[in-house]
Amino acid sequence: MKDYDKTEDYLNGKLGGEEKAAFEERLKNEPELQEQVKLQRGVNQYLAEKKRRDALTSAVKEAGRSYHGSKSIKPFGAGSLWKAAVLIGIVLTTTVILFYYGSGLSNRFVLAEEFTPYLPGLNTRNSDSTSHWEDCFILFENTNFKGSLECFDSNPTPDSMLTWKMFVSGQSWLALNDPAKAQGCFAKIDQSEEALLLQEHIDWYLALSLAALDSIPEAIQRLKKLSTESDFYRKKADALKLKLEKQ
């Protein structure tokens, strides 16, 4: 830190003509000094933006707490925080609207709260990654659900991969808020020999689809099955079952 003071003065514009020229000459030839300037400039920038960023972080955390019902959002003060508040509002409202709008069903919340896609790795699928239909899986993995469904429609899938196609398409329909189509996909592969290793995931997504379609007893039946058979889903299944039973 031998040049700390000099560097600080340079960055704060406090070096006079000759001193500044000498410092800049050294800067050209001394990599260590270049690093020092870069570091101190980075720290100064960090400190200059710290207040605004801390406020943004607090606003997001506060909104998160509020969303989970434990605390209410306080009014935002600074102008940039209004933007943050509005955007957080848009994100949260969009999520809610996406899952409620046009459905007329009371249990779409199940999808909003519980659905996350299961992303199978390429190795899991044991497939030929050079095939064109493989792109459809990649689109799915990149959360382009609509693109993935369109891709499957326009590319022939080998028979050996039809189970995976149904599994992935079902999830895409869930993500696109169409539990009826999702249920159709999962029902086709439910209990099939080819889908043996995927059965617990199929049970879970079928339960979500059924709950979103207000078929609560069938959904609960699936969840009970998961509760006894799946280590992976037991906790989630129990929690959702409880929630549905309370209604």
Binding site: Q36, L39, K50, V60, I88, L98, T143
Partner: protein
């Protein structure tokens, strides 16, 4: 995704909050323009941050769970994601400073004069505040400069 790949609910909550911050930082920039839905982007940002965190923990530098580490959607937010990570490291050093240091720097960032800081913290003199500010900031720079991971990030 996070729960399925070895994370806990706290990880999921933290990563989602980080992703929201990244998203909002980008939203504040003039070139902000989305080609997909906000949810899709948020999911990709979460995935990117989570994979980085996992890599850092494992120190192997390998991708995890068969998931691709590069994601075209989150690339759009790369600068903000990198800035967030750098900021978190700097935050960790800032928080290691003594309380009085953090208070003096904090008030100074809020544009309080040294005299106002002296009054707020009940300190002996303006000179003391000035010296403390100088030493505290220098200490912060020293700590950060000793972290080898910082050099590539700045």
């Amino acid at each position: 995704m996070i729960l399925r790949s070895g994370g806990n609910p706290d990880d999921a909550r933290d990563i989602f909050q980080d992703a929201l911050i990244v998203f909002l930082e980008k939203a504040d920039s003039p070139e902000f323009n989305l080609s997909s839905s906000a949810e899709t982007y948020l999911y990709s940002i979460c995935k990117n941050i989570w994979l980085r965190q996992k890599k850092k923990k494992s120190r192997t530098g390998e991708s995890t769970d068969g998931m691709e580490s590069t994601d075209p959607l989150s690339e759009y937010f790369l600068e903000e994601i990198n800035a967030l990570q750098l900021r978190k490291i700097m935050d960790s050093y800032f928080n290691r400073l003594p309380l009085q240091c953090r208070q003096i720097i904090g008030y100074s960032l809020e544009q309080y004069s040294y005299d106002e800081i002296r009054l707020k913290l009940d300190l002996a003199s303006v000179e003391y505040v000035r010296n403390r500010y100088y030493l505290c900031k220098k200490k912060l720079v020293e700590m950060i400069s000793s972290d080898p991971s910082i050099k590539d990030m700045i």
